[in-house]
């Protein structure tokens, strides 16, 4: 009796993923905890572990398959080696290393949800409502048990297609956008005969493209810039690091800016919000998404409740998150969510830039390089270390005055940095 191995949901919002690589082959014995495959979601590659033990008797979805729906059977595990023969295609001999490729060879491209010919799991009520409203069940992802399409899924699809305003009805709980609602198709690039190489987009690149396009299209951005003097913060950082050296902690300027932004958001909660069509959600905690550049794209690990964490805690968490981000090992809950973002290009020497808001968040802070500049201190020209920061705000949700207040308090916190350790 074969056990069906199903595409796992590696996060609460995951609906489909790419089966990037099989780490086992037919005939391999597996035990609970063995690594079976690498699954690529929109932002991360994760390892899929075995829960059951047995022998891999059949692989139904070859590696490299995209858009594999959560809950789809991807392989079969038999109780012993004899199952390899019985479950394999009849023409294959047991000695053959790999049976013929699976019937579900390649899933159709996203966003079509159900592979062609596969039975669509839907409740009787969902089927009937879909038929009445002309909703194609194959285009939906099911939220019921084992990916079953239920009434709520059909109703959500119905209202989304009927809506004339392209604004989500509710603030999504996580930042992952639903593939079913975002076609994100771009015109083909004309070929002018210039030598070139086309590289297929990774899941992460697609997500970045979709979400940044969505953000610029839907959220009217306003940008507020200010110069911030860094000398006091740098001095404090030096003193703190001297004291923290024994503990192996070394605060970066960015760690301190994360805390400053979180504290500023607590002081101006009007900026710690999401715009949700007919609701404005104000968060009661400041979770800061920190942009980290990784090979092939960018990811935003989150420092949750940064305002109430000590600088040393933020620093150790950030170092650990950044390291795992670069290794592609972040768990979805570690990068999905967040109430505001910070992006720092100072280390690249960028003086000033504006950043695109990371929806459903409503603000992001772009941080430029701290550099020595001629600066007026006490009505006299002096040399000071100064950086330029620019907040981007979703003007649907945040008024200019509130944004300005946030930037002002951030500047004060950095220039009089004892507030960061108090």
């Amino acid at each position: 009796m074969a056990i069906e191995l199903k595409m796992p949901a590696l996060s609460p919002t995951m609906e489909e993923g790419t089966l990037a690589k099989w780490l086992v082959k037919v005939g391999d014995s597996v035990n609970s905890g063995d690594l079976l495959a690498e699954i690529e979601t929109d932002k991360a590659t994760m390892e899929f572990e075995a829960v059951d033990e047995g022998v891999i008797s059949k692989i139904l979805v070859p590696e490299g398959s995209e858009g594999v729906k959560v809950g789809a059977v991807i392989a079969l595990i038999g109780s012993d080696a004899s199952d390899v023969a019985s479950d394999a295609a009849p023409v294959a001999t047991p000695a053959a290393a790999t049976p013929p490729p699976a019937p579900v060879a390649s899933a159709p491209p996203a966003p079509a949800a159900a592979p062609t010919g596969e039975r669509i799991k839907a409740s009787p009520l969902a089927k009937r409502i879909a038929a009445a409203r002309g909703v194609d069940l194959a285009s939906l992802s099911g939220s019921g048990p084992n990916g079953r399409i239920v009434k709520a899924d059909v109703e959500a699809a119905g209202s989304a297609s009927a809506a004339t305003v392209p604004v989500a009805a509710a603030v999504p709980a996580a930042t992952a956008a639903s593939p079913a609602t975002a076609p994100a198709t771009s015109p083909a690039i004309p070929d002018f005969g210039i030598p070139h190489v086309d590289e297929k987009l990774s899941g992460m690149r697609k997500t970045i493209a979709k979400r940044l396009t969505q953000s610029m299209a839907e959220a009217p951005h306003i940008y507020l810039s200010v110069d911030v003097q860094l000398d006091a913060l740098l001095k404090l950082r030096g003193e703190l690091n001297a004291g923290l050296a024994d503990r192996g902690v070394k605060l970066s300027v960015n760690d301190m800016l994360i805390k400053a932004l979180a504290l500023a958001l607590e002081a101006v909660p009007q900026c710690n919000v999401s715009f949700g069509g007919d609701v404005l959600r104000q968060y009661q905690r400041s979770d800061i998404s920190v942009a980290v550049s990784i090979p092939g794209g960018l990811i935003t690990p989150i420092i949750t409740d940064a305002a109430s964490k000590s600088l040393s805690k933020i620093s150790t968490e950030m170092a650990e998150l950044a390291e795992r981000a670069k290794a592609g090992k972040l768990q979805p809950h570690e990068y999905q969510g967040g109430t505001a973002s910070i992006s720092n290009m100072g280390m690249m020497g960028i003086k000033h830039f504006t950043a695109v808001i990371n929806p459903p968040q409503a603000m992001i802070l772009a941080v430029g390089a701290g550099e020595k500049r001629p600066y007026i201190v006490d009505d006299a020209l002096a040399i000071a270390t100064v950086m330029t920061v620019t907040g981007s705000f979703d003007h649907r949700a945040i008024d200019g005055a509130d944004g300005a207040q946030l930037i002002k308090i951030f500047k004060q916190l950095v220039e009089k940095p004892m507030g960061l350790v108090a």
């Binding site: 009520l125 969902a126 239920v150």
Partner: protein, 469 residues
């Protein structure tokens, strides 16, 4: 100072189930209880009352033995023995929960818990106090009976459910104030045990949350048993004396009349046990003392969760248990467990059971509420008199009513009154949860002879094709 993944405050049917589910998911779990493991439900609520009602039911059968061709003489009830049996049942289940805590390696802290932060609390008992911390805390402290503001229960003549469960004496003439589940269950028990019973209900019908047809049927049945039912009436004052209670009751026409009773049971609802828990200090959002939660039982304070009677209605043990599972799974998921897949609660699919005589069971919308919600409805009703098994049992009083959406065929609600209906409602609940439509019910085979065939017939009747009427 002990540090846990999860502390559950309160060990009722919400709390202890949450703790077990959390332990199954590998969380280091503790539970805090100030009184009895198992909470009200199995010590002072659902379970011991079912034991009492079973005694009353058997007494009722004995008194009606002749109808079944049997003779029974000198039938009498021994109230002390009936109560003793009920307490024995409660004790057995209490020990069962103790065993389950041990089996699942859940640490039990006996004492009163008070939050000192979203993820820390102190437990105070005779033996002193201790501080506990956890990554998450679930508040599951439940609720208690609501008192009449002008006549708090004294346990002598004015009772809550809790006094009514361990009576020192048999009431001769009982006043039951409120006709919700608790009110009509005790009315039934004491009526069957031989008391003269009057029910006063402020709204215009008994069991007002049920479908109007069920209320009308129950009122008729209770009156036939000899109960005095006053609807649209209110108790204006209640004065206790050594010999009884005097109630001034304002009737439907507004006329106030004083009547004497031996005892009164106050069953006018519940109040949440949300005081002295430190909730206000943490800024926990509440509505009339009940904690606001999201569909996964999160409060507005990160790390703090709430389930059961201390949250929004319905205030039912099985709703609390289900929320316990949801919260435990959501917490495990937040702590990184990939196998925990919490699903949000759908209040439309929570069944309700009332164990008066005859029994009531229902799930989903009443006909009235379905229409108010804008549904075009199709309604069917099948009386037990058309069911062979019910007639053979001598229980031919009752009916099953189903309410379907005329357009989609969705089962919007099911309402039953009569023998064994509390054991049958789950059939409709599974159907509703799985989103079956009328054809699925119609095409299901129901076993013969059972009263459950009435459930089939009600659906058939909805679509004009019942066989036995």
């Amino acid at each position: 100072m002990s540090n846990y993944d999860l502390i559950v405050l309160g060990s009722g049917p919400g709390g202890y189930v949450a703790a077990i589910r959390a332990a199954q998911l590998g969380l280091k779990t503790a539970i805090v209880e100030r009184e009895n493991l198992g909470g009200i439900c199995l010590n002072w609520g659902c379970i011991p009352t079912k034991a009492l009602l079973r005694s009353a039911e058997i007494l009722h059968y004995m008194q009606h033995a002749k109808a079944y061709g049997l003779a029974a003489d000198n039938i009498r009830a021994d109230l002390d023995a009936v109560v003793k049996r009920s307490r024995g049942v409660a004790k057995q289940l209490n020990q069962g929960v103790t065993h389950l805590m041990k089996k699942n390696k859940i640490t039990v802290h006996m004492g009163a818990g008070k939050l000192t932060g979203p993820t820390s609390l102190t437990v105070t008992s005779d033996k002193g106090s201790e501080n506990l911390t956890a990554k998450h805390i679930i508040v599951a402290t439940g609720a208690r009976a609501r008192d009449l503001p002008f006549a708090p229960a004294d346990g002598k003549r004015i009772w809550t459910y809790r006094h009514a469960m361990v009576p020192a004496e048999m009431p001769s003439k009982l006043l039951v104030i409120g006709s919700g589940a608790i009110g009509v269950e005790f009315a039934s028990f004491y009526k069957d045990m031989g008391a003269e019973v009057t029910i006063v209900e402020m709204l215009d019908r008994v069991v007002p949350v049920e479908d109007a047809d069920v209320s009308a049927f129950l009122e008729k049945a209770l009156k036939k048993q000899g109960m005095n039912i006053l609807t649209g009436a209110g108790v204006q004052s209640l004065t206790s004396s050594a010999s009884g209670v005097r109630a001034e009751i304002k009737d439907r026409e507004g006329k106030v009349q004083a009547s004497d009773f031996s005892h009164a049971i106050v069953a006018i609802g519940i109040v949440p046990n949300s005081e002295n828990l430190g909730l206000e200090g943490l800024g926990v959002a509440m509505t009339k003392g009940h904690i606001n939660t999201d569909p996964y039982c999160r409060t507005n304070v990160p790390g703090l969760w709430a389930i059961g009677d201390i949250t929004a209605p319905p205030w039912l043990a099985h709703k609390a248990s289900h929320e316990g599972v949801i919260a435990a799974e959501a917490i495990a998921a937040e702590l990184g467990n990939k196998d925990a897949h919490p699903h949000p609660m759908d209040a439309k699919n929570i069944p309700g059971c009332t164990y008066c005589h005859p029994q009531i069971a229902s799930v989903g919308l009443t006909e009235e509420k379905a229409k108010a919600a804008g549904h075009k409805v199709r309604v069917g009703n099948f009386p037990f008199i058309g069911n062979g098994k019910a007639i053979a049992l001598g229980e031919a009083e009752g009916f099953v009513k189903t309410v379907f959406d005329a357009d989609s065929g969705e089962l919007l609600g099911a309402h039953m009154v009569g023998a064994e209906v509390t054991e049958m409602i789950q059939g409709y609940t599974i159907g509703k949860t799985a989103e079956l439509v009328e054809g699925d019910f119609i095409h299901s085979v129901f076993p013969h002879p059972t009263i459950s065939e009435s459930m089939h017939e009600a659906v058939l009747a909805t679509y004009g094709r019942a066989i036995h009427i």
